[in-house]
Amino acid sequence: MTLGEAVREALAEEMRRDSRVFICGEDIAEAGTVFKVLTGLVDEFGKERVLDTPISEAGFTGIAVGAAMTGMRPVVDIMFGDFSTLVMDQMVNQAAKVRYMSGGKCKVPMVMRATLGASRRSAAQHSQSLHAWFAHIPGLKVVLPSTPYDAKGLMKTAIRDDNPVVFFEDKMMYKLKGPVPAEDYTIPFGVADIKRVGTDITIIATSSMVQVALDAAKMLEEFDISAEVIDPRTVWPLDEKTLIESAKKTSRVIVVDEGYERYGVTAEIASVIAEGAFFSLEAPVKRIGAMHVPIPFSPPLEDATIPTERQVFGAAKALCG
């Protein structure tokens, strides 16, 4: 099953299970989203539960917040994560804070799905990975699946969670295949997954960077370097324990994330490790994120801005050398 299918299945199963779940967003009904991830859902659930909206990201996100506060369980589809710039007030000043500001009286069980990731030659306004912004905000949970299995299990958890959850799907991973069991399952938030066991170096990677890390790990194998690859799966809550333990074991760590490196996800994870495994580290934690430039359109330039397996491999070899 592909990652896109896994997301769709999770949504379909949750919509069958709970009639309060609905999805809204642009071009999601008959079109099934621009990435065709939701194809067919409208046929089963109708246009009232798979709701095409105007191009009003702030507006329909706000409506979702209100619907979530009053008994529904909305899933909001933000076509490109870059457009999350338009919903920050609704997500951050409203959704994330409603529970706290009301002293626990209200809750906001909603999911905001958005895409992230570059390398589609889509240029600066359609290629960003802005998840660090959301991870910075108390009251939100932030999920980044890297496999179909994780995508399905995490999406189900997200929908059943009584809090606003921001769920980022990498556009380039929708076609990625992987095994997904037939039976119902969920994956708890805050539990990192060791995607590959290793002893010499820990590579912590998120979303599509997990594959990059695994590919780098394979290249490292030829040099007799055994890399452990860990996917936090949720950057908030963050499974610090698993990350730190691995760091203590291997004593060398690389953190790879597709967001801008500066003031991004790699900074938090690197400093959690630097603190938690301080006395075990042989070398500084190496951060690898997107270059500090807007994503360029031109293919050779774009390719230079995003972390690659070669880059991770090089960094790992240098660390272990």
Partner: protein, 332 residues
């Protein structure tokens, strides 16, 4: 005395009850706000408060037309909406003082009072910020088929926020039971809205498929009558509606806004206060129409006063939340 009874007979008992209830509610808001101002002046209240004084007829007239389970969303100037929808004085004061006994356990304060039990989804300190929430509540009401309506209160300043138009459009497309109520008190903080509003408010809403009305917001019976018809229509499935209530805040933008002649004249304020005070207008009408006699009206006044005072005392005496509560309620 006989005259009074004679005249009141012209009015049905239920009308009389309703008028006196609306009067009492307005008075309660008025006295509540006086206490707030007093607490602030005596440096007993943390932060700020935006007093509702002068606008009471809007909240009371509209909430009188609502069911207890109908939804409202409110604003930074929200005490009136909360009380009119049914909030209790003690928990209100306690919240304003940051006490554990407050509606939000002290975590929200004046600008964030929420009381789901009375349908109040919360005040909002982001201007226009609750337009989505109210529309979403209407969405739920329609989907869950509960017959509820949602009322979104906001100031004329919120007409500057694009969000409002985005959600009006969707409310119209999806025929949602939501009423957008603009309390037009002429000012956005310290700026007259002639500097901030081009075009025409009602036309704006019509452009998004939302029909509207504009009324005098100082006459509570007028507000109620308009709201009643509008709520019935919206509840029956006619789709969203827009209501502009012309009104005026008697105090500063917030309790600390004392010297305000640079943005509005004392004369203007005086005129509204003497000629257009909603509480006084209602009192006068009740008297003129002989709905109630002086003694009855005095009694209401005394009762409300006593309630308010008792509530303040309760709140003042109530404890702050324990510091370890700070990390609770972030997640459900």
């Amino acid at each position: 005395m006989t005259t009074v009874l004679d005249r009141s007979k012209a009015h049905s008992e239920s009308d009389v009850q309703q008028w006196l209830r609306m009067y009492r509610q307005m008075l309660m808001i008025r006295l509540f706000e006086e206490q707030v101002n007093d607490l602030y002046t005596r440096a007993l209240m943390p932060g700020l408060a935006h007093l509702y004084t002068g606008q009471e007829a809007v909240a009371v007239g509209i909430c009188e037309a609502l069911r207890l389970d109908d939804y409202i969303t409110s604003t930074h100037r929200g005490h009136g909406h909360c009380l009119a929808k049914g909030a209790q004085l003690g928990a209100m004061f306690a919240e304003l003082l940051g006490k554990e006994a407050g509606y939000c356990k002290g975590k929200g304060g004046s600008m964030h009072i929420a009381d789901p039990d009375t349908g109040n989804l919360g005040a909002n300190a982001i201007v226009g910020g609750s337009a989505g929430i109210a529309t979403g509540a209407a969405f739920s009401a329609k989907r869950l088929n509960t017959g509820q309506v949602a009322v979104c209160f906001f100031g004329d300043g919120a007409m500057g926020q694009g969000l409002l138009y985005e959600v009006m459009n969707m409310a119209a497309l999806w025929t949602l039971p939501v009423i957008y109520v603009c309390e037009n008190n002429l000012y956005n903080e310290y700026t007259h809205n002639s500097e901030t509003l081009a075009g025409d408010m009602l036309t704006r809403a019509v452009g998004f498929g939302v029909p509207g009305e504009r009324i005098d917001g100082q006459e509570v019976r007028k507000v109620y009558a308009t709201a009643k018809t509008m709520v019935a229509r919206v509840r029956a499935g006619a789709g969203p509606a827009f209501l502009v209530c012309d009104t005026y805040r008697f105090h500063g933008h917030h309790v600390g806004d004392i010297n305000r002649e640079y943005y509005r004249s004392k004369q203007e304020e005086q005129q509204w206060k003497t000629e257009r005070d909603p509480v006084k207008l209602m009192l006068d009408w009740l008297t003129t129409e002989k709905v109630a006699n002086r003694a009855q009206l005095d009694q209401i006044q005394n009762e409300v006063k006593a309630e308010v005072e008792k509530a303040v005392q309760f709140a003042m005496a109530a404890p702050y939340p324990a510091v370890d509560r700070v990390a609770q309620d972030v997640y459900a």
